[in-house]
Symmetry: C2
């Protein structure tokens, strides 16, 4: 069995290859997926499993200890590994560092969403939130849409946004700038990628310009959302996976429960889009993509690394 | 993270230490457990998770490909690993070979059942079935009840029983013998350990002598059972875990559904027995122990190996 460390996974990432892996995975028979979530106090233990006929099977087991960030010295709040199995023989093939695989999977997921849905001439990327995921997300978006010329970064604490902007400039050579007024930047953006820990919408739909692509990454619980009903009403709605978003993540679950949107308003997930479902119809459309994740996406990414 | 191979786990096993680990684990707060089972055709992918406050967390992910035994060359039908996490920090501590851990856990489970329930002067062990588990089960029973003087082994194909008897003699020095007539051996046995793949009862309760301890290992699906209703009616009934047996394994599930026994007839599981629940009341009692397994038992065994 190969042991793939975080360093090995994150060295010279080929975003196009990861997107190709996701596309290939969605052309295979639909994934069987299942989660086991155990909780004690504010801590969680999550085992996510997937099996795709012809591709393989995997389980990612992680502890989620939010209080770890307050330890001295601070410890990672998410720790664990993904184990991937060969479809033909059932043999264990590879053990991947869980947090690194998750970062790459999440960013590649958003990149594919943009490649399928954003305008091909998109020039300005607005990154909302400057947490751990922001760097990989910006890199992945730049790879998915090479027309991008500039990155604006907004964060609750501007200092972190400025640091990330400097890092992005250094690593990619692209023009990057921290901003303090989110509402002023929203109408300027061609692509907005949001990865905050917000419970309440941070992006006002009324401010969006025609043609914008919204990539929503941050919300991952039934109570979290990053955009308001106005954004949902103005946009063509998509997701990476119906199964992991509609009934599980507040971004769609809350407006569905309240009747602000119907299930049929979420037009397609990756299975549909890869199979030819209509995404963007014209340059004026606002497209909204919810990145919700799922063990089947982890499996497709793990398959790429285990077989490269 | 420690990588513990099958060879490392199975080298000079200390059965008493494994039993002590199970006892200690059952004195801790009750385990949170959960399974994810995915199926395709006759093949299964199973991820079993447990979390015990103060002890740690683990997930065991295994593929179960029954058809692997027909491959040329034959492949193992169960393959995978257990990953164990530190309770205090959430960090991954150890990766254990799944099939080896399962063999040791299963045998230690039966050993503890015998230590808690069989007669202290038991002399004759009857092993029913000579599959992969039979060797470790016999060794564990010998460790749990040092009064044992002789082992009889019955198997559908006698040749395999003879081979195992020779192995046991060589490895343990104890008198071991293959037999062809199961019904003749049953009344002679002080302890009967059954590990068959039978769907239908192989052990007739009417043949049991007073004082016998029945250790039932083989049945693991809702349709499997190894003893008949007569055995259940004559015995004091126990299990390693109420949670993994009563509603999940045919041994108790079928007679419960048919009204042959009531839930209250299953008197205690390991949590109760370790806490002082009455097991055997006198030397004439027949005791029946269903070994059903469960991720919490895997966790206790993994904790032993990760911390030794």
């Amino acid at each position: 069995m190969q042991i793939l460390t975080a360093e090995m996974l994150e060295k010279s990432v080929d975003w196009q290859a990861l997107m190709d892996g996701l596309i290939a995975g969605h052309k295979m028979p639909k994934a069987h997926i299942g989660d086991t979530l155990l909780e004690q106090g504010g801590r969680k233990f999550l085992a996510r499993s997937a099996w795709i006929e012809g591709l393989g099977a995997c389980t990612k087991a992680v502890t989620i200890y939010p209080d770890n960030s307050q330890q001295k010295p601070a410890l990672p709040s998410v720790q664990g590994h993904l184990i991937m199995f060969d479809e033909a023989t059932g043999a264990p093939l590879a053990l991947l560092d869980g947090p690194a695989e998750t970062r790459l999977k999440t960013a590649a997921d958003s990149a594919l969403g943009s490649a399928l849905l954003s305008r091909q001439d998109a020039e300005l990327l607005l990154m909302v939130g400057a947490g751990n995921m922001a760097g990989p997300l910006i890199e992945a978006h730049l790879a998915a849409r090479p027309s991008l010329q500039k990155v604006l970064i907004w964060n609750r604490t501007e200092k972190r946004a400025a640091q990330l902007a400097a890092d992005i400039k250094r690593l990619t050579g692209i023009d990057a700038e921290a901003i303090s007024e989110l509402d002023e930047a929203i109408p300027e953006a061609d692509i907005i990628c949001s990865a905050t820990m917000s419970e309440k919408p941070v992006i006002k739909g009324a401010l969006l310009s025609k043609g914008t692509h919204l990539d929503l990454v941050g919300a991952y619980t039934p109570t979290m959302r990053e955009v308001d009903n106005k954004a949902l009403a103005r946009a063509r709605l998509f997701a990476d996976s119906f199964d992991t978003t509609l009934d599980h993540i507040g971004e769609y679950k809350i407006p569905l429960q309240r009747g602000a949107i119907q299930r049929s308003d979420v037009l397609a997930d990756f299975y549909g889009l890869v199979d030819g479902a209509k995404g963007r119809l014209d340059d004026d459309d606002i497209t909204l993509f919810k990145n919700g994740g799922g063990a089947h996406l982890d499996l497709m990414i793990a398959h790429h690394f285990a077989n490269q």
